[in-house]
Point group: C2
Chain length 254, copies 2
Amino acid sequence: MSGRLAIVGLGPGDDRYLTREALHALGEAEVLYGYGPYLDRIPSRGGQSRYASDNREEAERARAALSHAAPGAKVAIVSGGDPGVFAMAASVCEEIAAGPGSWRTVDVAIVPGITAMLAVAARAGAPLGHDFCALSLSDNLKPWELIERRLDAASGAGFVIALYNPISRARPWQLGKAFARLARHLPGTTPVIFGRAVGRNDETVMVTTLAKAVNAPADMATLIIVGSRETRIIAREGRAPLVYTPRAVEEAIA
Amino acid sequence: MSGRLAIVGLGPGDDRYLTREALHALGEAEVLYGYGPYLDRIPSRGGQSRYASDNREEAERARAALSHAAPGAKVAIVSGGDPGVFAMAASVCEEIAAGPGSWRTVDVAIVPGITAMLAVAARAGAPLGHDFCALSLSDNLKPWELIERRLDAASGAGFVIALYNPISRARPWQLGKAFARLARHLPGTTPVIFGRAVGRNDETVMVTTLAKAVNAPADMATLIIVGSRETRIIAREGRAPLVYTPRAVEEAIA
């Protein structure tokens, strides 16, 4: 009997974004794998074992979970946000492709979750209301030149851009360079949203402009949305501004 | 006292993708607005009134809900998928920008949901595991030339592409033309996923290639994901294939 591996998206922050399907998948699992802080968000249940690992050990975690599931166990890997967006699902697929044939017999089920850009966008208004893209700024797994080329292509063609993994201690200069690159294509007044720890009690959402963005604080828990030429801000007295990208574009110049 | 307007994402399909936050927002509302079939998915509650409207009447629905909320009511608009992705949140922002000052006093809360591309991606594997974009193929609100330019930019720079609103009775030729355009940049073997009615009992997910995609059936309920040059397929005996885009890119040629 082949086992089952669910890769479950918890959404960002606390449990407010958990879906019914995610709750069901967590309940069915005999074994949970995941980054420690994600596992800590799930109430413990008798008879369910847990294996916490560091955030950087994705490939190892995927292999351990597949090895555990293959002989017949019901295993779940938990993932923050959506497991399919810069997260565990691709890692598991990579390991299945490279691993023993028995891993291909595992019943793999991916349970989607609210990914960070959707949560940050919701807090700010509707900045992703028109065509947009999601781009990881980490150059650990791709060359920096390719990231610049994608920033050029996306901003030049009028996509709103969600930046994942904008900065870390090991990658301190990439974000500033990305803003400078985007400024070749977009006016300094382009709205930029910094969402940090959205869905947690200490969440912050800040709206600024591309010209000022380089001075805004950001860290690993930050998701940044850079508007297009069409993105607008509605000022509201006594309330946070609403940032939105209209559904209609009049001209083909974007 | 100013009112409250929640714009609530239900996710695709039935209630399996509802989040706790969405359930809470629906429970708080005195009045619900939305497209009829979305409202039908929500259990009725005593004292809660409902206003169903046609799917094409987004602007009218937004204005009616804002007029209702402004004097002090607790109103919710329900939206399939995520309200921020080609859906109601941008429509509401547009109406606030153009409407009376009292609409700016409304406490607007957007509750994110699982958008179709995340659900379809989860069913297929991890096709959005690397940089990707979301593009509406509808030329009702933007010129077709701009859509072609965006298809060129996104595929040329190595983004995986999720196509929303791929086809309708009034827009029968656009999808075929989009595939032909993408074929200028991508090999015919590029994986393409057609997800229809995902999250419903009659869901179908089909994996094909760019060369064969033009012959695959699609309608308004279909979400299409076109891979990049990096996207791969894992064949599995007795199981559906897994489609994934690796996290790493070796070369800058994409």
